[in-house]
């Protein structure tokens, strides 16, 4: 029933939870612990070492092969752009970040609300679910220009488009979570006279929480994509606008600097979701 996207999201979430569990629950003898510490170091050091290696190789190849900077500037040139134009980059990063947060902030209640309605009414569920799947199949980016037609070139069209593409994973994951309550649990609730509303609030929502966070992790990256695409199409500010502007003047190093900032923003927002998930999960299972 869940789409591959939500499936993947949920799988990633549960695998992470399982491995976290395994890591924290067993007290280890000292030697094993030392090995484990080395293992932890490797999980941090290895990816960093690999990315440093790629950067160095990139720098080296571009210099030796004398690739024109308009085609591919070396990492050092991008870094230089980051330091010299940091004020400009920051100026454009702020609206992109805020609009992403705005869109993400709206997509959560929207996705959760529709999921709750679908869970509450089997008829609505039957009517809506196939359409949700169908909507997933639309290449939604192709619809972006239409949002400009419908809502103009301002903030409303960008954020609406971003909400439009980012609330799906939240909806699908939350619906799966709300409907994952076992049949006997529902029977228990009925036997003690719990109303549908009580079941939703006291049982279904908390059960769906880990699913919701899996959905949010996918949604937050989609929100950024939505905003940047919106800025590509019609905007006078934001990192998407700056990327387009710099590219049109063949300032590839500035474009790439924008992308680096975009990565940092994305990482920060993703980290925010992970952090709130940690807090919620501590309450959830005390594990």
């Amino acid at each position: 029933m869940p789409t591959p996207l939500a499936d993947a999201a949920i799988n990633v979430g549960s695998v992470a939870a399982v491995s976290e569990n395994a890591a924290s629950s067993q007290p280890q003898p000292r030697r094993r612990r030392r090995w484990r510490a080395a293992g932890h170091l490797a999980t941090i050091a290895l990816p960093i070492a690999l990315s440093l290696f790629v950067l160095v190789a990139w720098e080296f190849i571009v210099r030796v092969a004398k690739v024109p900077p308009a085609i591919l500037p070396p990492p050092s040139a991008i870094f230089e752009q980051l330091t010299t134009h940091y004020a400009l980059l920051l100026k454009h990063a702020v609206p992109t970040t805020l609009e992403t947060l705005l869109a993400f902030g709206f997509s959560i209640p929207l996705g959760v609300f529709i999921a709750a309605v679908m869970t509450w009414s089997p008829v609505i569920n039957k009517a809506v679910y196939p359409n949700v799947i169908f909507f997933q199949l639309i290449p939604k980016i192709a619809l972006a220009p239409l949002f400009i037609v419908w809502l103009g070139i301002g903030l409303p069209s960008r954020t609406t488009f971003s909400i439009f593409i980012s609330f799906f994973p939240i909806l699908v994951a939350t619906a799966a979570g709300l409907q994952s309550v076992p049949r006997d649990m529902l029977r228990l609730c009925r036997s003690v006279g719990a109303s549908d509303w009580q079941v939703l609030v006291h049982v279904r929502f908390p059960t769906a929480l880990p699913f919701l966070f899996s959905g949010m992790k996918v949604a937050v990256t989609l929100s950024i994509i939505g905003i940047v695409v919106g800025e590509f199409i019609a905007s006078q500010r934001g990192l998407g606008y700056l990327i387009l502007f710099a590219s049109s003047r063949l300032q590839t190093d500035l474009s790439l600097a924008c992308i680096a900032v975009l990565c940092a923003v994305g990482l920060g927002l993703y980290g925010l979701v992970v952090l709130s998930e940690r807090v919620a999960m501590r309450w959830y299972g005390d594990r």
Binding site: P182, D184, L188, R190, S191, G193, H202, P206, D286, R287
Partner: protein
């Protein structure tokens, strides 16, 4: 005084139109107040269906069921339910899980906190009250579920294979605990199991079920005096009783099989 549970010619048919499945047929029995009655039969024979009908959690197709003299039309607050899996909420402490029915019934918690603590203590969970289910063992979780079923002081306990997901040693432990609890709180109990020994150890009466659709094959009184303890399972007449029930079930199975072929 009327019976605590009274089933008359009860049948359950799932589905409608051409694709139907008859789960149970023409079930008639009654349970006196304070009596411990077990529905015994092979897996998938409709015991649980019958239990759900008594609990008002499934609609009765034919016949009537009365609890305390009033017909069952939906879930009733005087029943406490225990399922195969404990069905605890992992984000709530053991104590809060025990009070879950009270919260759902919108009754004042304060009136039940003492009882919740008393029940947890009776089940050997005094120190586990503040712990959350993931920190508890399987047996402890099921004991919390038993406390939860008892917290609102229901008159009838409906138990759907409550110990069949546990390992054999824990299961024996909980059987003994169940005997103690029955002495202490003395509820009318309808218990579903496919373990013959468990049925004989715990019950005053065993109703043997079998066939397709399931019917009552036999109604066997278990004569051993209470209070009972686990030593009973070593006794010769205990094992003779188990053997007798096993024979009933085997014959029923053969008949059921013949039915299916014919």
């Amino acid at each position: 005084m009327s019976a605590a549970i009274d089933c008359r010619a009860v049948g359950k048919i799932y589905g409608n139109g051409r694709r139907t499945f008859e789960a149970v047929r023409a079930i008639t029995f009654s349970v006196r107040g304070g009596e411990f009655v077990t529905l015994l039969g092979p897996s998938g024979c409709g015991k649980s269906t019958l239990l759900m009908l008594v609990g008002g959690l499934e609609e009765i197709t034919v016949g009537t069921i009365e609890l305390g003299g009033r017909p069952v039309v939906g879930p009733r607050s005087e029943t406490g339910m225990i399922f195969q899996d404990p069905m605890l909420l992992p984000w709530k402490s053991a104590f809060d899980n025990v009070l879950f029915p009270i919260d759902m019934m919108r009754r004042p918690r304060a009136r039940y906190t003492e009882r919740a603590h008393e029940l947890l203590a009776a089940m050997g969970l005094r120190d586990a009250a503040a712990k959350k289910p993931p920190q508890l063992s399987g047996g402890m979780r099921q004991r919390v579920a038993i406390c939860r079923a008892l917290v609102s002081d229901p008159e009838v306990m409906l138990m759907d294979e409550p110990f069949s997901a546990l390992d054999a040693i824990t299961r024996d432990e909980l059987n003994v605990l169940m005997l103690d609890l029955f002495e202490r709180y003395r509820k009318t109990a309808l218990f579903v199991t496919h373990s013959i020994r468990e049925a004989v150890l715990l019950s005053d009466r065993v109703l043997v079920m079998g066939g397709r659709p399931a019917t009552l094959i036999d109604d066997v009184r278990i004569p051993f005096s209470r209070p009972r303890d686990f030593a009973l399972t070593e006794a010769a007449d205990f094992n003779a009783m188990c053997g007798h029930l096993r024979e009933k079930i085997t014959t029923a199975r053969k008949l059921g099989h013949a039915d299916a072929i014919g």
